[in-house]
Point group: C2
Chain length 493, copies 2
């Protein structure tokens, strides 16, 4: 008798009593239906109770409301599915900073498409795991198709026949993988595989405008800290890059350029950067986490000229692609460069299974168990088509242009520059950094607006990252008006 | 005029025409409702069409069906939300290996609870991102509460006041973080922060039974490959560990023990391992990705005695916790050890914002944008309570005991050992490894059952990882019968 034996053993009656427990199987969908309705109703109620872009009262007030509803986190006896969903989804919705509200525009934090959020349910209910074929027979094929298709879009017709992409948790993981691939490529080239000697060999070179995840990735991977090229105008300039590469001559280098900076949405001059990198034998990674989706638009993709020459590209659809998190990608022009990620684990990809035709999936990620985040992307691309994605991208960028005009029209503001994607950066014509920071926090505290902040050219600015394709001219005017009002209070005017 | 200007500018009419586009906001729930029904119907149809634990025909047949439905991945003109959801969710459901089917029992791949899958929708629809407070005011507090609560459960009353946990994409990322924390801790201790000298200083020591992600993490982090202690009986034995630690005397070491091995569900003798690690000044990480949830059960948690002495613990609720992927955790007895993950990015956690009371969240992960995977966990714990989780854990473990008895009762099989959690490992009394591998593949190919494989004690075994709490005695008998039948064909009997 097993030490685990239940009194009386396993009983079919217990299973009958628990019908409706699981999301999968033939009975799962029927179990899901009423619970999904509970969730939708709680989302509806939460949005009404919030009544704006974010909850009122600031961190302590919000945390207090959450604690009142969410505790005890682990009661001895459960509250039941409906009660738990209603309470917790309700309080999280009420206390959300909702990017679907046009006044929530601080970060690269997009309002997800309803079609994508709905598709995500199937991932949760079926729970395929992409680390082996026998956990995800169909989902793994969907992933392969979407990855190749997006990689072809990124690298264009000329270079795309062997292009592929990996799905990541976001731009951060994509940048990590890019640095890792460079580390391993140079390790192979300079000191043979396996030895430890080459690990610190690759030098990452990036602009001061690069995302912080590049620095964190170098640290994670045990590399030297990146060599930072000054970028006083907010972009990595080829001439400055050349000076830096000359300084590290001899060392294998990975240049990281940015197509859509976090602070200002600026696009580095990729053709010039690519030429310099090639001249110095450096690899080129382009972090297009933000700007990448311009490729959907015939009108706008020219802004990313030079992208197709990169050795790897971070591409992200949970920013300018309206996907629920996570929907990151690392695209490469040639799937062969992904070989260093190959990894053998007998229970997942034994040689005899691979030879017998069971696909090896373990090289597609450093994760093991892995959710099919790609499913919602596949459904979105199919639902909207290239032209539908282009329309949303174009409309979002147009909104930034209109907001910039509004700001420029007000004598009280200084505009940082013409938006290159969908970020508008401005500050008061008169007033210091403390005023900028204070206005932003005041709007947050009151639940009126979520605006971002950016440190650029030695000063602090407001940052409005527009990612809502349904933003209206009246919303843009409301942003300006709220800032003006909060500014007047701040200066005591 | 902006280069992005749309013909005629932004028009409110375009927004009206696109009502129903977004999942969030006050109108989002109404947009979601019909799409969720489309998904549920497609899941229902897919399960019926599949009619078993996985699709028939093997990889080529499944891929062909997917390609027929999913192409073109990026059409020029979209198919619309309903059509795209219906087609793609349908084909992924039809082609799923569904862990809710009792005959799908190969991997640590669990059937998710309906309540958890439903809660996950709220994460997708609201899209909070846990890298800053102003993207996730309420969700960040829910995460903090759940993490502390689970960490207290893991470390027990004695040691838990400062315990905390980080949410990860799974056991793999949790193990990576554990190695990273050890690397940084020793770096600080031996050579001061910032310098590169200490990076390769920490030596990872694990049993041959440890998960492959430990090895991959060492590689990722630029550490020496782990020192592997032979584990002929499937567990890391304190005496063998002591020999290994003596061999690396002087080097700072991280011992990795496993509480629930991937291959056999074996639990390393933690008290003995902890004593040896302490004696040699080594840190101890326990990978309890599989066995961790035994802590929910008063009856079973004694099997994890010694866990509370670990310096870090991998704990995972997408295995024996019935969560949709991802639901991983790294628990630590003292939140202070997480300090090396601290990271500053002005736009997310500027000092003046932190001083003004906006919580800094960036140290909770190496990711930046981050989905609130914790919401479904919070809802599940609340819905089931400790006793409900315990009941599911106990029932699942009991099923393994019953299957082991069935197998032992058949003269044709050899049982690897008494199950310690919910994994049953066996092989034919007569027959070679090729027979074992062939039977498994035959059952996959025909869509009859998803069984796992394990290499143990120099031979190949079938592995049945039971994670379905609704498994019935008749299902267990069906597993045995299918294996017998496929084996007879394999031997030509
Ligand atoms: C330019 C850039 N790269 C990378 C990232 C990181 O992406 P994620 O937050 O999806 O990890 C960001 C995030 O804002 C970004 O702006
Ligand atoms: C013992 C053990 N540790 C870690 C992992 C990795 O967990 P995940 O697949 O969630 O990343 C596994 C996966 O099966 C495992 O069995």
């Amino acid at each position: 008798m097993s030490v685990f034996a239940l009194d009386g053993g396993l009983r079919a009656a217990d299973c009958d009593a628990d019908a409706g427990l699981l999301a999968g199987g033939a009975a799962g969908p029927a179990a899901l239906r009423p619970l999904l309705e509970t969730v939708v109703a709680a989302l509806e109620r939460g949005a009404v109770e919030r009544g704006g872009p974010l909850p009122r009262g600031g961190p302590e007030a919000v945390a207090g409301r959450v604690r009142a509803v969410a505790g005890p986190v682990l009661p001895e006896v459960g509250a039941g599915a409906a009660a738990a969903l209603d309470a917790l989804v309700g309080v999280v919705a009420q206390g959300a900073a909702d990017p679907a509200d046009p006044l929530c525009a601080a970060h690269l934090h997009c309002p997800p498409l309803a079609v994508a959020a709905a598709a995500d349910v199937a991932a949760s209910a079926l729970n395929p795991s992409l680390d082996s074929w026998d956990q995800a027979p169909a989902a793994s094929e969907v992933e392969a198709l979407v990855c190749r298709s997006l990689a072809r879009l990124v690298f264009g017709a000329g270079r795309a026949s062997d292009a592929d992409a990996l799905v990541t948790t976001g731009g951060t993981e994509a940048n990590q993988l890019a640095l890792l691939l460079a580390r391993e490529r140079f390790r192979e080239r300079f000191s043979g595989r396996g030895g430890a000697g080459g690990v610190r060999g690759v030098r990452v070179v990036c602009g001061a405008n690069a995302h912080h995840s590049v620095h964190r990735a170098a640290w994670l991977l045990g590399l030297e800290p990146p060599l930072v090229v000054p970028a006083p105008r907010g972009v990595l300039e080829p001439a400055a890059l050349e000076v830096a590469l000359r300084g590290v001559a001899g060392a294998p280098a990975l240049v990281v350029a940015t197509a859509g900076t976090t602070d200002a949405g600026a696009i580095d001059p990729l053709p010039g950067i690519g030429a310099v990198a090639r001249r110095y034998g450096a690899l080129l990674h382009v972090d297009a986490a933000y700007g990448g989706p311009l490729v959907f638009s015939e009108r706008l993709r020219g802004r990313l000229a030079g992208l197709e020459c990169a050795d790897s590209v971070t591409f992200d659809l949970h920013k300018l692609g309206w996907q629920p998190v996570a929907a990151g990608f690392l695209a490469v022009p040639d799937a062969g460069v992904l070989r260093p990620l190959g990894h053998c684990a007998d229970y997942l990809n034994a040689d005899d299974d691979t030879e017998a035709g069971l696909p090896d999936l373990l090289w597609r990620s450093l994760r093991t168990t892995r959710r099919p985040d790609v499913l919602k992307v596949a459904v979105t691309l199919r639902a909207l088509g290239r032209s539908g994605m282009a329309r949303l991208v174009e409309r979002t960028c147009a909104a930034a242009g209109e907001l910039a005009e509004l700001v420029r029209g007000e004598g009280r503001f200084v505009l940082y520059g013409e938006p290159e994607i969908s970020t508008v950066v401005f500050r008061p014509a008169v007033g210091d950094d403390a005023l900028v920071a204070g206005v932003r926090r005041r709007l947050l505290e009151r639940g009126q607006a979520v605006l971002g902040r950016a440190s650029l050219a030695g000063r602090l600015w407001w940052k409005v990252t527009l990612l809502n394709p349904l933003v209206r001219p009246s919303d843009l005017a409301a942003v300006v008006k709220l800032v003006e009002e909060a500014m007047e209070e701040g200066t005591g005017a």
